[in-house]
Symmetry: C2
Subunit: 265 residues, 2 copies
């Protein structure tokens, strides 16, 4: 998503050229290209798919919409399995239209995880609950802190449900470092993503993630912390940024690789 201006083949080719060993993919471009074809494309280039983004959006209380959401999540699990990644990132969804019942919406997330976990496990896919920054609580994700995501995950086996640590979403939280340690000890850090925090935030606050090093987050410190918690998986960079999307994708990818290396512990 960091360089969504690149086609899938161009992305994979450029990653291989730059020595990037794996790539996190989003469902929409994968489905447009064909899931099997995308899997082959990445595999043939000698890369791995680090994660698939995203399932989730299952906070609705309306029975038909709920069935549809769970079906869509099962499809996402199948796609992850086909791509050969063991990690499906979940953005759980916001409050249903007109609702003010945050606690209820959070409980429906747990219900969905209970239903999807075993289905995912059989296919070798782990569900990774991503806590999103609290500014998305009403419209994108009712899971707002790492501690809360972990509380949810711990109701299920670690092979089924874990969490995503994304610096953009957790950097402000004084309780997040302890949650990282706790998640690492339990083998529940299923993905680790980097993005920097820059202001002013754009309207809608969705596309203002900063290039690594441009913002307020001590990324090296977070990376060290996640390492120290025992995480040995891939480290992803996920930027949504209009200015980066307007630039040449290959150039952005090259810059991102440099920034990535310069903030590594």
């Amino acid at each position: 998503m960091t360089v969504k201006q690149l086609s899938l083949p161009r992305l994979v080719y450029t990653c291989a050229q730059l020595g990037v060993p794996g790539v996190g993919l989003w469902r929409e471009p994968v489905r447009a290209y064909g899931v099997e074809a995308a899997a082959k494309l990445v595999r043939d280039a000698g890369l791995s798919v680090t994660s698939l983004c995203r399932g989730g959006f299952f906070t609705t209380a309306e029975p038909h919409a709920r069935v549809k959401a769970l079906d869509d999540n099962r499809a996402a699990i199948d796609e992850a399995a086909t791509l050969g990644t063991d990690t499906l990132v979940l953005v759980c969804g916001g409050l249903p239209e007109g609702s003010r019942d945050l606690a209820g919406a959070r409980e429906r997330v747990a219900d969905a995880l209970a239903e999807l976990g075993p289905y995912a496990r059989v296919r070798g896919v782990r569900l990774a609950v991503e806590p999103l920054h609290p500014m998305y609580a009403s419209d994108r994700c009712v899971v707002s802190t790492l501690g809360q995501a972990l509380d949810l995950a711990e109701r299920f086996p670690a092979e089924e449900v874990g969490v995503v640590v994304d610096t953009y979403h957790v950097w402000w939280d004084d309780l997040a470092p302890a949650a990282v340690t706790r998640a690492g000890a339990a083998g529940r850090i299923h993905a680790f993503q980097l993005a920097d925090w820059v202001t002013p935030l754009p309207e809608g606050v969705l596309t203002g993630r900063g290039q690594l090093g441009d913002g307020s987050i001590d990324l090296r410190d977070w990376w060290r912390r996640v390492d120290a918690a025992g995480y040995t998986g891939p480290v992803e960079v996920e930027l949504f940024n209009e200015a980066l999307w307007r630039r040449d994708g290959v150039e952005v990818l090259r810059e991102t690789v440099e920034r990535f290396r310069s903030c590594a512990p």
Copy 2:
């Protein structure tokens, strides 16, 4: 601030007309009008000043800027005393320019409270640390949760330092209800403010607070919770909203009073 389009006399007159018994003031219009004159204006109308907004912005590590910030806060405390309010709201400040040291900035907040608390106490003014929504952590306030604000406050006597509970800032936080109870039991809820959460957020995310009832927050539930924690102080409404500021101020004030009554427990 909800109706900043109104002059101070017009604000006070309209509050009295509408049966609003008190008004929270901001420093800038008060200083422009004259602090003594503003105090007399409010008193003569039979109203009280519920709180003064705001001190704070003392996270800088630079010695000269720090002295200046503390001096300004002492001035704010004096102004609060002159206005006859016992509550000075503190917006503590963000990360200093170029800094990524959140923990350090938070420690400087504690240092400032230690210095200002006794000065305020002598003047009958309590410092009210307002945790701001985490989306302001880098540029406005490094104190991001009610629990964190309370941890800070509890290092000092309750007569000196307490917290502000503002629904806009805390509504998403599953740990905030317990913090409200804890703060109430300790006599540390120094102010309670209402605003609703509406999306999409505007650029800069400062002026998008929703009119009561327009958004995602169960305001009655929060009000009940703060009541149950033993809070008996004023309930303020603080909206920053470009659309409300463009409308006729008296009409907005009337609407706000209606909404306020309809979300009271």
